[in-house]
């Protein structure tokens, strides 16, 4: 089985090389160069397109097991493939919670059955996500869990988090923190500010996120242990992490496409597709997030792909569930709001979406290099398109980008050496 990809611009985290052909034999990249003449089973002329190392999403909700009316591993991995991801890390707030070996094995086996994208289970930090007793992290890792997280139900008790960081490090499990001080949220449903006042909705102070991040940083610093903060959204969070990094604290973080492209004004008209946690903030936060991406304070872009059924969204704003889907629009949003605005280079996007997410989770990132298994995401930087419920592959249709034009699209995906989307 041979594939020849012709006339590509290849992007790596360090360079951009134009006019390249890639020859793939039996899933392995055999040759990279100009004007390759190999006779192949499949030849694709990809003139004008860009080959990225395939992306990895470190924050996905597959909803499987337990909430398969929102998404399941088949539809979720298919959505991941369409977004150019070779693999995703699946958050543990499933039902039953991913806090035991059978659920971990179920997730891995089911994903392998379909083969759209790999799924790496993230186990819960505490049993049942209840914030009380630690999960069997050594055992969970031995069966394929790659990290632990409290996503969706933050660990409130500081001593529990202290012990979790110490035990997880010993177990070789990165800790992914959803940092939120629930007492400060106090019934809020969107960002605290002028838009919340105008809509008459209860606001969530930025301090709810920042106070919790400050706690994780201080714990990481006290024990010189690594900690990863997921989906940061405020200017203050960027500043806290920037300063901690300067001090040498082992803290990493990610943000999501919506935090560098949308503001809380998207909630106007009580649009529940703009309701997520943490909430969309204001323009100065968006600017700070982009600066954080530019100067390396923010290490990765994750989607926080959070499918919900329309019955859970077509209700009063206060009652609507938090979260939006994001796998299929992540690259397009990054391309539109970071690349075309000249805020970030293509290499930097490769670093944020393909390279660092894997490294933080101790996985080997995709790299377009002779001898490697082909994991390649080909994009058209200039294709203008509009996400719609109809062109969404995910089972749920809760995207704030419907009706918004995006520039940049994933067109061809090869993962595990196999041409899966073209």
């Amino acid at each position: 089985m041979t594939i020849l990809l012709k006339n590509l611009t290849i992007v790596s985290t360090t360079e951009v090389t134009t006019g390249q052909d890639i020859f793939i034999k039996d899933g392995i990249i055999e040759k990279i160069g100009t004007g390759l003449k190999e006779t192949c089973d499949t030849v694709l002329d990809l003139s004008g397109k860009i080959a990225f190392p395939a992306f990895f999403d470190m924050h996905t909700h597959m909803r499987d097991p337990g909430f398969t009316y929102k998404e399941d591993i088949e539809t979720g991995t298919k959505a991941a493939l369409h977004g150019g991801f070779w693999g995703v890390a699946a958050m543990p707030n499933t039902s039953p919670v991913t806090d035991n070996v059978p659920v971990v094995e179920y997730i891995i086996n089911k994903a392998n059955k379909f083969g759209y994208a790999k799924v790496f289970p993230v186990a819960a930090i505490t049993k049942g996500l209840e914030g009380k007793e630690l999960t069997e992290m050594i055992e969970l890792k031995a069966h394929g869990a790659i990290a632990v997280s409290d996503d969706g139900k933050p660990v409130s008790d500081s001593n529990t988090m202290r012990q979790a960081l110490r035990y997880a490090h010993m177990a070789g499990m990165p800790v992914v923190c959803h940092s939120e001080d629930l007492s400060l949220v106090n019934g809020g449903v969107m960002n605290e500010g002028a838009t919340a006042d105008r809509l008459g909705l209860r606001g969530i102070t930025r301090a709810a996120e920042e106070a919790a991040i400050a706690r994780e940083i201080i714990l990481a610093k006290s024990y010189n242990l690594p900690v990863h903060i997921t989906h940061i959204s405020t200017k203050g969070s960027v500043e806290l992490i920037r300063n901690a990094k300067k001090e040498g604290v082992q803290v990493t973080c990610d943000t999501c496409p919506h935090y560098f492209s949308l503001t809380d004004e998207a909630c106007e008209g009580y649009d529940t597709h703009a309701k997520m946690n943490p909430p969309l903030r204001e323009a100065f936060d968006v600017d700070a997030i982009i600066e954080g991406l530019q100067d390396g304070t923010i290490d990765a872009i994750a989607t926080d792909h959070a499918p919900h059924h329309f019955d859970e969204k077509k209700v009063e704003f206060d009652h609507a569930l938090n979260g939006i889907i994001g796998l299929e629009t992540s690259f397009a949003v990054a391309c539109t709001y970071l690349y075309h605005t000249k805020k970030l280079s293509l290499s930097k996007i490769a670093e944020l979406m393909a390279d660092t997410p894997c490294k933080i989770l101790n996985l080997t990132p995709a790299e377009i290099k002779v001898g490697n298994v082909a994991n390649i995401t080909v994009c058209d930087l200039n294709e203008i398109w509009m996400p719609t419920p109809e062109n969404t592959v995910s089972k749920s249709k809760n995207s704030p980008y419907y009706g918004r034009e995006l520039c940049g699209k994933v067109t061809t995906v090869i993962t595990d050496g196999v041409l899966k989307l073209s």
């Binding site: 002028a194 919340a196 006042d197 809509l199 008459g200 077509k314 209700v315």
Partner: protein, 306 residues
């Protein structure tokens, strides 16, 4: 004058529309005090009140307004309805809509609930208060009362005092009064003031005296005592003493300044009891004007295509 299908908030109205509603309410008020309180404007129309939060005066006021204009007025008793069985808001209101209801008057604890309903039914939807968002007919009756007493609100200083943060009345009043050219100031404890209404041009004080100084209208808001448990204020005693409207404080306001209150009043808490009297405040007038304004709103929105 053209009106939309629904009255969801004062935000959606311009100054001309507000004045047109108030003008219509003037003639409606005459009906209330006439020999026969039965005018034909809404004959053959049906109005359903759906109150997901407790209310006496607003619901009764809407019901009477509908009846004075010959509409069939009914009330859906939310506590005994399918809502208790877990039916969604959209489904409940769709059902009501399919019974041939021309107008749904809805009060709901969640901001934006009337907007959600309006998108899903073809009946006219009137917002009778949604969460902390808006209470447009209360604001309209406030404007009506102010204009009745002072001629115009242009250039007048209106001081809204108390729990502004949780108040849909304060918000609707502010939106409309700014459109009508009044000066709006608000005062209360820092914990009960919203953060960003100032961006609209409302002045905020934590010193009630500063807000009341030279005011033409002083409007204390109802304080919900249970907010004490959420650390919004420490005690009724401290609140009444430092944030309550009393005779002493009213000396700072303009002579003959109006005292208004959206009701129901906590006597001795946000308003000194002696001030809740027909010769000291216009609270009773507000109630009557409420019926007139709601008659105007029902007529103008239901009959918008006539």
């Amino acid at each position: 004058m053209k009106f939309q299908k629904d009255l969801l908030g004062i935000k959606q109205l311009d100054a001309d529309q507000i004045q047109y509603i108030l003008k219509t309410a003037e003639s409606m008020k005459k009906i209330i005090f006439s020999e026969s309180t039965k005018a034909p404007q809404l004959a053959g129309k049906s109005v359903m009140t759906m109150f997901y939060e407790n209310s006496t005066r607003t619901r009764t006021s809407f019901e009477l307004a509908a009846k004075y204009l010959s509409a069939t007025a009914s009330n859906m008793a939310v506590s005994s309805s399918s809502v208790k069985k877990g039916e969604t808001l959209i489904d409940t209101t769709r059902t009501i809509n399919m019974m041939g209801t021309d107008c749904i008057v809805i009060r709901h604890e969640n901001a934006g609930a009337p907007h959600l309903v309006a998108q899903n039914v073809d009946a006219t939807v009137i917002n009778a208060g949604d969460g902390m968002n808006e209470h447009p007919t209360q604001a309209l009756l406030d404007f009506f009362t102010m204009q009745e007493q002072m001629g115009s609100v242009e250039g007048k200083k209106v001081a809204i005092i108390g729990d502004v943060y949780h108040s849909r009345v304060a918000r609707s009043d502010a939106y409309g009064l700014l459109k009508l050219g009044a000066e709006v100031v608000m005062a209360g404890p820092r914990t009960l003031l919203p953060n960003d209404l100032e961006s609209l041009g409302v002045k905020m004080y934590t010193d009630v005296d500063k807000a009341i100084k030279d005011a033409d209208v002083v409007m204390p808001l109802r304080l919900q005592l249970e907010r004490q448990k959420n650390c919004f204020f420490p005690s009724g005693y401290e609140y009444a003493k430092y944030f309550g409207v009393n005779e002493e404080r009213m000396k700072l306001a303009k002579k003959d300044a109006l005292i208004m209150h959206p009701g129901p009043v906590n006597r001795g808490l946000e308003l000194q009891s002696s001030l809740y009297a027909p010769d000291k405040s216009v609270i009773d007038r507000q109630v009557t004007n409420g019926v007139a304004v709601r008659m105007a709103v029902l007529h103008l929105f239901i009959n918008r295509n006539l």
